[in-house]
Amino acid sequence: ELKVEQNPLFLSMQEGKNYTIYCNYSTTSDRLYWYRQDPGKSLESLFVLLSNGAVKQEGRLMASLDTKARLSTLHITAAVHDLSATYFCAVVRGSTLGRLYFGRGTQLTVWP
């Protein structure tokens, strides 16, 4: 079965700092998603990455995909408090009819 590992699982960082969240997956996938989840809320799609070398940016977040290394990164630039949330990566395999395989999530806390 496809395994998705995220690290770190917990991240506490000061406002203004940069950091990267890593997502590794065990077998070939067809696309990769990054989601944000606020406490008590549902999942909000941030990025979908379709091909090797794909890079997408929205505000202070930038996601990239290396399919050869089976690695995606979510880079945070100059963090602000509003980015505090749990971030999940999820991988899709066409052979399993689009089933999403999620990592355990990275709980990010940004403090002043």
């Binding site: 998705v4 549902s42 909000e44 799609s45 979908v48 379709l50 066409g94 009819l97 689009g98 999403l100």
Partner: protein
């Protein structure tokens, strides 16, 4: 555009009782998914419907869980009898189409979830 609706938002029951959750997907979305999210983990797919047919229920504990989508729109997920380990958030998601390689149309949109506590 209205999002995915779920009810109830919270439910507390005792073990061995039964419980049902309801989901109304985004209008026009053919595919509906039920996920279980245990505290501290990522969501895990329980069952996937394409219109009113089951596409994937390989991870559904069929001895106690059941789900239906009779008219290809709303769906219900039932647990009978509940166990302590069923305590989780149950998320419903929908997508416009089923899986199509290279297409973005199967992006999944998630509802707010139902938080189930089994005592």
């Amino acid at each position: 555009e209205a999002g995915v609706a779920q009810s109830p938002r919270y439910k507390i029951i005792e073990k061995r009782q039964s419980v049902a959750f309801w989901c109304n997907p985004i209008s026009g979305h053919a595919t509906l998914y039920w996920y279980q999210q245990i505290l501290g983990q990522g969501p895990k797919l329980l069952i996937q419907f394409q219109n009113n047919g089951v596409v994937d229920d390989s991870q559904l504990p069929k001895d106690r869980f059941s789900a239906e989508r009779l008219k290809g729109v709303d769906s219900t997920l039932k647990i009978q009898p509940a166990k302590l380990e069923d305590s989780a958030v149950y998320l419903c998601a929908s997508s416009l189409k089923g899986w199509t390689s290279g297409s973005g149309d199967n992006e999944q949109f998630f509802g707010p979830g139902t938080r189930l506590t089994v005592l």
